[in-house]
């Protein structure tokens, strides 16, 4: 197999394998760019309360609250991917999520009270959830595998750029207009970096 053929086949097979992610990242960028298009009329349905009960846990004075979040979930029979944040000194929020559902668990530190609310399904949340999912902080193999695939998509972008440039240069009749497009793109981008 020649280098030329290898690069062409890599470009196409990698693209076909990652097509679902590629299409997903394209479409799921829309709610970020045009949030108003996805706003439900009159605010949409409200979250439903799953439980609201007395609960007590020590919240440590640390920026890393993941362990505390895991304990809250475990104590209350909940499991899944989650994130933890403290919006103010009197509250701790644990956000439990999958692509299809999300539950916001709020611990009111001063009241020693735990409230869990299920958010209704919304297409904008589904798409932004797909788009923003990544990293390796969740304690599950499949989540890590998703993180690896996100890396693979990024490497795919770099490979497509490299192999694409190579294939373009092989097509002599396209060099002038292609060079103009490439140069124009960089020029516009630098203008944005400078003046934005």
């Amino acid at each position: 197999m020649t280098l030329n053929l290898l690069l062409r086949r890599t470009h196409i097979y990698l693209a076909l394998f990652l097509l679902s992610w590629f299409g997903m990242y394209g479409i799921s960028s829309l709610p970020f760019s045009h949030p108003k298009w996805f706003e439900p009329p009159e605010g949409g349905p409200r979250p439903s309360v799953r439980f609201d009960r007395s609960y007590q846990i020590e919240v440590p004075q640390t920026s890393d609250l993941r362990e505390t979040g895991a304990r809250i979930l475990q104590d209350n029979g909940l499991q899944g991917s989650f994130g933890v944040y403290q919006p103010n000194p009197q509250r701790l929020n644990v956000y439990l999520f999958s692509f299809w559902s999300a539950t916001e668990i709020t611990y009111f530190i001063d009241q020693k009270r735990l409230l869990a609310e299920d958010r209704p399904f919304r297409w904008s949340s589904f798409l932004t959830g797909l788009h923003a999912r990544g990293g390796f902080e969740q304690e599950s193999l499949l989540n890590d595998a998703w993180g690896v695939l996100v890396d693979l998509v990024c490497l795919g972008f770099l490979v497509w750029i490299g192999t694409g440039l190579y294939m373009w240069w092989q097509l002599k009749p396209t060099r002038f207009w292609g060079g103009l497009a490439l140069g124009g793109g960089f020029l516009v981008f630098v203008l944005f970096l400078w003046r934005l």
Partner: protein, 197 residues
């Protein structure tokens, strides 16, 4: 003719949008590996003081925080997209003035007239993340809108590349079997993730 048009569009659009795709790939890599750049919960954004002065100007009666911010930015010759936060009772106004390379934080205390300008310390990963997140038409500046249009163009291009790529693959008969296998494997894997995590 249609096939040639599709191939050329796929190619020229990709060449023009190369810098956007490059930044998108690098920034996503950086965001996927945040733990390399900062400990969980730590703020990766740091500012250093650029100037401190007493502001002697006056504001219109009942000026909003946004109107005051705009006037301050004009005075500092730092007019660009920004967001503003005002502490209760007008104790302090904090302006976050956007810039791809060096965003600034401007703090103004109306009672003392103290105006402090701080520049965000440059780091590659915060720069990449900033570029990744910059979008939308909310700033009412021509250049901001032009950037938002370019982001929309990338979104449309991604969908177009996917569709035109499948078309071009199907025309290459010798790649149909392995290409089909790659496509099915990818779709299957994506479906598995969709319903399991």
């Amino acid at each position: 003719m249609f096939s040639k048009f599709l191939r050329r569009s796929h190619l020229y659009l990709a060449l023009f949008l190369t810098p956007w795709i490059l930044i998108n790939a690098l920034s996503t890599l950086a965001m996927n590996h945040r733990q390399f750049f900062a400990k969980p919960g730590d703020n990766p954004v740091h500012f250093e003081k650029e100037s401190e002065q007493t502001y002697n100007g006056t504001f219109p009666v009942q000026a909003t925080a946004r109107q005051m911010a705009l006037q301050l930015l004009k005075g500092l010759n730092l007019e660009r997209a920004f967001s503003v936060q005002a502490k209760p009772e007008g104790e302090r106004i904090t302006i976050l003035r956007q810039d791809p390379i060096s965003p600034r934080r401007i703090t103004f205390a109306p009672k003392s007239g103290m105006l402090v300008v701080e520049r965000q310390v440059f780091s590659t990963h915060t720069f990449l993340e900033r570029m990744h997140r910059r979008r939308g038409y909310q700033h009412h500046r021509l250049l901001e809108d032009a950037w938002a249009v370019s982001v929309d163009m990338v979104i449309a291009a991604m969908v177009f590349w996917a569709l035109s790529g499948v078309w071009m693959w199907w025309e290459l008969r010798s790649t149909r079997v392995w290409g089909g296998a790659c496509l099915l494997l990818g779709v299957g894997l994506f479906g598995l993730f969709l319903f399991s995590i």
